[in-house]
């Protein structure tokens, strides 16, 4: 790692100060960890009998995997539907006809502004009213995630197509392509490369938000961890929470790394004329913080 531009190569006093801060930092982190450890220890949460079940295949097979499958099933269904929703509404917002553009814009803006949990609750209660009794946990969760994340994806699609340099569309029109051909053959293929990182980041958000199913009692990983497992293995709340938390973090980090890798790849690639779009302010390579961050 190269030295940061934010501070000089430390001299004797700075080295002393850094050493002191290191000691203090380690002490603070260790104190916090020990506090948590001791607190849980006092409640017997590190006892072997509530941790041993996690070494047995049966626990994973009966409790954790069904929850994980519930989470992944909802995430997969919602991802596919949200992508379709995003592409349809994103392109509709780029339409030349105002009767398509304006309603599509309104739908996207409204669903982006609704708190997701309120939307899920509403769908959860709406379906029994319309269609009679039944378990609508899965439907409500998937539909809510689709409408919200689909709207965000629609904005990404729109930004991606708009980010393709204007010359590309002009050149395509100049060689005699029709509107539909320009979009299908020239703009969208180039935009996809630029959109990929942002799309994958949004799918991480979607995967995380499946945990809202916990609130409407959909059997997902969080429900397994906080309700079903602690009831089955008496008192194992903290072990279950830690195991489930690690699974969530590992899943999302894997997806996040994929997004970062895709972004680097498309930044390098010469096949598209469009720089990768991001949802936030893009990291600028030459900035102050980049050298300091490993």
């Amino acid at each position: 790692m190269s030295a940061s531009v934010l501070f000089d190569i430390p001299g004797p006093r700075a080295r002393l100060r850094n050493g002191l801060l290191t000691v203090l930092g380690v002490a603070a982190v260790a104190a916090a960890l020990y506090g948590v450890y001791a607190g849980f220890d006092a409640k017997g949460q590190w006892a072997a009998e509530i941790w041993l079940p996690f070494l047995k295949w049966n626990t994973w097979q009966v409790y954790i995997f069904p929850g994980l499958i519930g989470t992944l099933r909802a995430a997969a269904a919602a991802s596919v539907l949200a992508l379709v929703f995003g592409i349809v509404f994103g392109l509709a917002r780029l339409s030349d006809h105002s009767w398509i553009r304006i309603p599509a814009g309104a739908v996207v803006e409204i669903f982006r502004a609704i708190p997701l949990l309120l939307l899920i609750f509403f769908i959860f209660y709406l379906f029994p009213t319309l269609m009679g009794g039944g378990d609508y946990g899965f439907v409500a969760l998937v539909l809510g995630l689709t409408l919200y994340n689909g709207s965000v994806l629609a904005e990404i699609v729109r930004a991606g197509v708009n980010a393709v340099p204007k010359g590309q569309a002009e050149a395509a029109y100049a060689v005699g392509m029709r509107k539909n051909q320009v979009m299908r053959l020239v703009l969208v293929p180039q935009a996809v490369t630029a959109m990929m990182p942002a799309i994958v980041s949004q799918l991480v958000v979607l995967l995380k938000d499946t945990a809202l199913g916990y609130i409407i009692a959909y059997v997902d990983l969080l429900n397994t961890g906080f309700n079903i497992l602690p009831a089955a293995i008496f008192g194992a709340l903290i072990p279950a929470a830690i195991v489930v938390g690690v699974i969530y973090v590992a899943l999302n980090m894997a997806l996040s790394f994929l997004a970062t890798w895709l972004e680097r790849r498309s930044r390098r690639s010469r096949r598209s004329t469009t720089p990768p779009i991001t949802t936030g302010p893009g990291p600028i390579e030459s900035g102050v913080g980049s050298a300091a961050v490993p």
């Binding site: 409204i110 995380k208 969530y248 913080g289």
Partner: protein, 222 residues
């Protein structure tokens, strides 16, 4: 429409709870996020590593898990109690849980802002003899904040919408919980749903406009 009028006082009280959580969340998460970003660019490797681990873990954990853990794990098991009144206690647990979660996003937004500050600014600060803390607080962070006003606004809007997840932390007084209780009696009511959405939009849209306007007005001209 009658249902909305009948339940409006309850819903308004619930919505007020969301506003209160959001107010605490905005202040605490901005402070925590600024501390985190200072840690992440600091000269001390241990602090840098601690900040990185915190941000990456918290950012990849569902908010529902964070809030459920702060209620069931921190309060019930660790005995972290803010007040003897259960409702007040869970209000603070939820607000601080939400702040800890949002702080990771504030930190990421600010770090992107730090990245927009040209290297020359930091080099100039060093060459006139400013220490790390001086150059951070007087040169880097002021420019970084101005560069990310709009993204910080988006983070705050997301945070306001996330206050509805307070239910998961056992705080059953916010508007999502009130709406659920109401729907248990009336069934799904479209006017109530629309009413609440409009209330949230009234809160979030001015923030979007204000931060957009401020970011244009305060943009650092380079």
């Amino acid at each position: 429409m009658d249902e909305l009028i009948k339940y409006a006082p309850d819903l308004a009280l619930g919505f007020l709870e969301n506003v209160k959580i959001a107010a605490v969340g905005a202040v605490v998460s901005m402070i925590l996020g600024t501390i985190l970003v200072a840690m992440r660019v600091s000269p001390t490797p241990v602090l840098r590593a601690a900040g990185t681990v915190y941000v990456n873990v918290v950012r990849n954990t569902p908010l529902t898990l964070v809030l459920a853990f702060s209620a069931l794990g921190l309060s019930d098991r660790l005995g972290l109690v803010f007040s003897d009144v259960p409702l007040t206690n869970s209000f603070w647990l939820v607000s601080l849980g939400l702040s800890a979660y949002t702080a990771a996003f504030v930190c990421e937004a600010l770090r992107a802002g730090v990245n927009t500050v040209p290297i020359g600014q930091a080099e100039a600060a060093r060459s006139i003899g400013l220490t790390f803390m001086q150059s951070l607080t007087m040169i880097i962070l002021p420019q970084a904040f101005r560069a990310v006003i709009a993204p910080l606004g988006s983070v705050m809007i997301a945070m306001i919408k996330n206050t509805t997840v307070a239910t998961a932390g056992g705080y059953l007084a916010d508007s999502a919980a009130v709406m659920k209780i109401t729907f248990d009696q009336t069934g799904a009511s479209i006017p109530i749903f629309i009413g609440l959405i409009i209330a949230f939009m009234v809160l979030t849209m001015p923030i979007g406009f204000l931060t957009g306007w401020l970011s244009r007005r305060l943009a650092v001209v380079r």
